[in-house]
């Protein structure tokens, strides 16, 4: 086992965040030797997650996900707009992440912007893969009209592993998404759009193949999924993978100051695929379970 204290001692104490990171290295228990982590989890175990969809009534689709202490609210608003010039027969996804200062005081002012853009860039990357979401269905008139999905992600509480939780919440919100049906009538070269105002005359988005992010953090000689805040502070390098239903990797990004050996990247890819498939399956199961329960369940929202 690598002594964490040793690593800490060679790294200069740079700023406050770095200092905190060095602090946490003191508790060597957060290392994941013997497949036993600080809270008794194995290396490939997620903390329990709760989700609810349809929590915000004035959105087209919304969800709230709690992963232990991480709390994320996602709202999707569908609006009509013009398609991007290079993909003129497709709709668009626009991600926006907001880090609430309620989550941690560090997010106050512009403090959360860096993290927010990191999360939204990662989401753009993993969703920028043909087949994730059928964007052609979101197009109404090629080159002229399409649905743009504004996906707003609000970070309410930080408890580690924000990327994975955000991606799960986005997928759940997309599942909940209901876009009004649009009928196009052509009248002497004059195009008219009629948007249905019947709440049941809606189209939905198929999320079966959309990806979830799985973050693998390298701690000591092991890599763990779903790192808690303490574990994140101990980890020097992490690999984030967008994994779709059957284990297709739709995006990948390496983060952190540490370096990774090619062979360990291979291992991490294997683990990521395996965990990603399980995550997608479990997520879809609970989303369908919630859909079956339907309206009679009643909304819990933010009341516990």
């Amino acid at each position: 086992m690598v002594s964490m204290e040793h690593i800490a001692s060679v790294k200069p104490v740079a700023d406050n965040k770095e200092q905190q990171r060095v602090h946490w290295k003191g508790e060597r228990h957060s290392t994941a030797q013997d497949n036993c982590r600080e809270d008794g989890r194995g290396c490939e175990d997620y903390r329990h997650m709760t989700l609810e969809t349809g929590v915000v009534s004035n959105t087209s689709g919304s969800s709230r996900v709690r992963l232990a202490n991480t709390d994320i609210l996602v709202g999707i608003k569908a609006e009509l707009g013009t398609p991007a010039p290079d993909k003129d027969d497709k709709g668009r996804l626009e991600f926006f992440v907001d880090c609430s200062a309620n989550a941690t005081p560090e997010f106050e002012g512009r403090g959360g912007e860096e993290l927010a853009s990191e999360i939204s860039n990662m989401l753009i990357r993993v969703y920028d893969c043909p087949g994730c979401v059928d964007l052609q269905k979101l197009c109404i008139i090629p080159k002229q009209q399409c649905w743009i999905l504004y996906i707003d992600i609000l970070l309410l509480e930080c408890g580690g592993n924000l990327f994975d939780a955000a991606s799960v919440a986005v997928k759940a919100a997309l599942f909940d998404l209901k876009i009004p049906r649009v009928t196009v009538t052509q009248d002497e070269g004059h195009v008219e759009l009629e948007i249905s105002d019947d709440p049941y005359d809606v189209q939905t988005v198929d999320v079966k193949s959309s990806p979830c992010i799985v973050t693998l953090s390298k701690i000591g000689h092991c890599h763990v999924v779903d790192a808690s805040q303490k574990e994140e502070a101990c980890c020097l390098a992490r690999l984030m993978l967008g994994v779709a239903e059957h284990g297709t990797i739709t995006g990948m990004k390496k983060e952190g100051s540490g370096s990774l050996d090619p062979s360990s990247i291979d291992d991490m890819l294997d683990t990521g695929k395996r965990v990603g498939i399980a995550l997608n399956k479990s997520l879809l199961e609970s989303l369908e379970e919630e859909q079956r329960q339907g309206k009679k369940k009643g909304r819990t929202g933010f009341l516990r």
Binding site: A8, Q33, D39, G40, T50
Partner: protein, 291 residues
């Protein structure tokens, strides 16, 4: 591997466990309209009436009315056992973060130097301070005195206090730590737990006698065995479960919840329904002990 659930689907109806506290007030509540009382902490005067400025329990000492807040930062008292982290090495003193309102101070003159010898602190010792305790180290200490502004002065002049080596730390609300004669417990399950009055709980594997008596300056950095780590993880999850359910933390409650949790896997303890079950089983045992 992955456990995702729908909100409200598997939740059981939460039992009403706590009895009603009679003198509970919310901020802005009128405590009394009688002007004969004196205004204490957590209260303010408006229109000749005494209002509460915090949510908490009203306490009266003769003519003085205070509101003791339910949720608060740690307010130190002399004799408290605390767990803190060194944040700065200064002139003849260390600054310690004890999760109180102000940073606490540990004077060079109030520590036991390695080897346990008691002598005057020389200039050499002052230069060596960072070798004893450096930024980021965790210590257990006792509150020696409280300054007028509420800042704490700590001391580690007993061999049970000092630097902490390998273990895990949990932060809970300081109001959940029950004041006992001793806050150091060696539990029969093979772990040592320190319940700091400041809401920091430290759990580590039980050391043998010799290393315990050095004030922690000689650290044992050998990897902890898997069995010990599991015991520590289980205890940690039990402490979190107790604090989630607002149960007082002391040796018996921790031990009972540990025993109740043995039926489950360590990692499952933090799942809400299992957590509730463990606590529901622990509670009657504690109550039968109390009567």
């Amino acid at each position: 591997m992955v456990d995702i659930r729908v909100v409200g689907a598997r939740d059981r109806q939460k039992q009403e466990l706590t009895e009603e506290i009679s003198n509970l007030v919310c901020p802005g509540d009128v405590i009394t309209t009688d002007t004969g009382f004196m205004r204490g902490h957590g209260t303010y005067m408006e229109d000749e009436k005494l209002h509460a400025s915090v949510a908490g329990v009203v306490e009266r000492v003769n003519k003085l009315i205070c509101v003791k807040p339910l949720k608060t930062r740690y307010n130190g008292e002399v004799g408290d056992v605390v767990i803190g982290r060194i944040i700065e090495v200064g002139q003849k003193r260390w600054k310690v973060d004890t999760r109180s309102k102000l940073d606490s101070i540990l004077m060079l003159s109030s520590v036991n130097l390695p080897g346990g010898e008691l002598r005057r602190r020389s200039e050499e010792d002052e230069k060596m301070m960072r070798n004893y305790l450096k930024e980021g180290d965790l210590i257990s200490a006792e509150v020696q005195s409280v300054f007028s502004d509420g800042a704490l002065s700590l001391h580690t002049r007993s061999l049970k206090y000092g630097k902490l080596a390998q273990g895990t730390i949990i932060q809970v609300s300081p109001s959940l730590i029950k004041r006992r004669k001793t806050h150091f417990h060696t539990l029969p399950c093979g772990a040592t737990i320190i319940l700091g009055n400041n809401g920091s709980v430290w759990i580590s594997a039980t050391m043998n006698e010799e290393t315990e008596q050095t004030g922690g300056y000689e650290q044992d950095l050998e990897p902890v065995s898997k069995g010990d780590r599991e015991v520590i993880a289980r205890l940690r999850n039990c402490v979190i479960a107790l604090s989630e359910h607002q149960m007082m933390l002391y040796d018996t409650s921790v031990l009972y919840s540990y025993e109740e949790s043995l039926r489950f896997n360590v990692k499952d303890i933090l799942k809400p329904e299992i957590m509730t079950e463990i606590i529901e089983n622990t509670q009657p045992r504690l109550e039968s002990l109390g009567t």
